[in-house]
């Protein structure tokens, strides 16, 4: 700690010249939210929120986003593992492909899902023919659309965590006779827990806000596929103040859930 004299700032602290930028960033993010709060129709808010359509859309949003997150964790962690740890040829190409849903406009994602899993899709056709299963316009389609756009967030976070994890700890556990599964459960997963938690939170948040792919692939029907973002979009055409009220609810619920999870998962490390 040679540099820790009284005059020199703590290493790692933000250089003062950059402080205004941080403040500007915060302002930029918060101002639109302030606008929503300022314009919210507080008097009609309770009425707007207890409309059966609103509650139904909120419930559907929460259920679908959570299911999509589960799908992402189950599929995404193994994929992240492959990307981080395997010596598969073409791994960097694979990594680039994983980020495709991030750059794809969500509506295009929805059309892409049609071409793959729709009734006329390359896989969907057989699902229909062999099992009589058609995905589009069902709640399952909402989960599929949300998982499609949210998966990269989880994969990238977990992959980063796996690369950063100290492999010597895993080697040590293996040397001491731990089985492969035991190492995974008791050493690797705890090591990457913060990355997994961050990825899960991002994934859930992205799924909750999903609009384009959902309205394209799953359509919009009250109770089965009309999630909160779609309800807000339609409300905007009917009554903009109702749309603001609904947006606020979605915002409050998601902030509450995310803050709660963050507290629990990242309480010490963040």
């Amino acid at each position: 700690m040679r540099r820790s004299s009284g005059r020199v700032a703590r290493p790692g602290a933000l250089p003062p010249a950059l402080a205004p930028f941080a403040a500007l960033a915060l302002l930029f993010l918060l101002l639109p939210v302030v606008g929503l709060v300022a314009r919210a129709p507080w008097r009609t808010l309770p009425e707007e929120l207890t409309r059966p359509e609103s509650l139904e859309a909120l419930r559907l949003s929460l259920v679908c986003a959570s299911l999509a997150t589960v799908v992402c964790i189950v599929l995404g962690v193994p994929l992240a593992w492959v990307l981080a740890r395997s010596d598969l040829p073409g791994r960097s190409m694979l990594r680039a492909l994983v980020t495709v849903p991030l750059v794809l406009p969500p509506v295009v994602g929805g059309v892409a899902l049609f071409t793959a899993l729709g009734r006329q899709g390359i896989v969907g056709r057989w699902l229909d023919e062999w099992f009589g299963v058609t995905l589009p316009f069902t709640t399952a389609a909402v989960v599929v659309a949300e998982a499609f756009v949210a998966l990269p967030f989880l994969v990238i976070s977990v992959e980063g965590a796996l690369r950063g994890a100290d492999r010597r700890l895993e080697d040590a556990a293996a040397t001491l006779g731990a089985s492969r599964w035991y190492v995974v459960r008791r050493v690797t997963l705890p090591l990457v827990a913060p990355g997994l938690a961050a990825g899960t939170v991002l994934c859930w948040a992205r799924a909750l806000g999903e609009f384009g792919a959902t309205i394209t692939f799953a359509g919009s029907f009250p109770g089965t596929t009309r999630t909160m973002p779609i309800e807000v979009y339609l409300a905007l055409q009917r009554d903009p103040s109702a749309a603001i009220a609904l947006s606020l609810v979605l915002l409050l619920v998601s902030v509450a859930v995310l803050a709660g999870l963050r507290e629990r998962w990242l309480g010490t490390s963040a």
């Binding site: 006329q120 384009g212 309205i215 359509g219 919009s220 596929t225 779609i230 979009y233 905007l236 055409q237």
Partner: protein, 266 residues
């Protein structure tokens, strides 16, 4: 708030597809002297917000105005009328608004955003749209009550959804839709993709989709006719351009292009 770019992408794609008949119509229309003032003066940028169902006809008319007045650029935003009405009342800078229903135009008038009186320039009739070849064997409007069919309709907030509701009421059918889309082009795209068995769209949309979609007329469509009003906007950045476009739309040339697209005279 994210807006669905789907409608726009599709509208552009369809405008491209329908380009053939469209330009043919323009060519035949420009053969005779245009009834609008054909001064070759540039009108600058004209911004037109119009109902999705007007995509093909208005694109043709925009090209016509640009040809009549070199240097003029007509910019369109096609979307659900109700969405456009919201944009206008929120201060979107535009010169002309053409809506698919008097009710949505009323919203804009009530907000004091219209200069003068809106005028009804065409009417549009609903038609049943099915994928080419009608694989599900849809026969008429009664089939919209069948649970086993996959059916797309416009949301009731949107003029085409409102018109469809009137038609079902006239027939006494309880429709069993699987999705209520945010605008008519989104409904049409589901038919083009073959993902729904039947949908209720405007006759003009079926025509614009060419041979990818078959249209079935039904007698009760007379109860589901929408009037289309057009208006110059009060805060138009380009009032002269707004007037020129509205005049063109309401001229004999304009009505011929609109009739070509399947619209009816008011």
């Amino acid at each position: 708030m994210r807006r669905s770019p789907a409608a726009l992408v599709l509208a552009l794609a369809l405008a491209g597809c329908g380009g053939d008949d469209g330009s043919a119509a323009t060519a035949s229309a420009t053969g005779e002297p245009s009834s609008g003032a054909a001064s070759a003066r540039s009108l600058g940028d004209v911004t037109v917000l119009a109902a999705s169902s007007l995509t093909e006809a208005f694109t043709t008319l925009g090209e016509q105005l640009e040809a009549d007045h070199p240097g003029t650029t007509v910019r369109f935003s096609f979307a659900a009328s109700s969405e456009l009405a919201t944009q206008i009342t929120q201060g979107a800078p535009a010169d002309v608004f053409a809506s698919a229903s008097p009710a949505t135009m009323e919203q804009v008038v009530d907000a004091g955003a219209v200069a003068g009186q809106p005028k009804v320039f065409v009417r549009n009739r609903l038609q049943i749209a099915v994928p080419a070849g009608n694989p599900a064997g849809v026969k008429g409007i009664e089939d919209f009550g069948r649970q086993d069919l996959t059916i797309a309709l416009c949301a009731p907030e949107v003029p085409c959804g409102d018109a469809a509701a009137r038609a079902f009421e006239a027939v006494g059918v309880t429709a069993q839709p699987d999705t209520l889309e945010a605008d008519v082009k989104a409904v049409l795209s589901k038919v083009i993709l073959g993902e729904v068995d039947a949908a209720m769209v405007y006759r003009t949309d079926v025509r614009a989709a060419g041979d990818k979609v078959d249209g079935l007329d039904f007698p009760e469509s007379a109860d589901a006719v929408n009037d289309y009003p057009i208006a110059e906007l009060g805060d138009a950045p380009n009032p002269a351009g707004a007037k020129a476009f509205v005049d063109l739309v309401r001229s004999a040339t304009g009505l011929a292009v609109l009739a070509e697209a399947g619209f009816e005279q008011p």
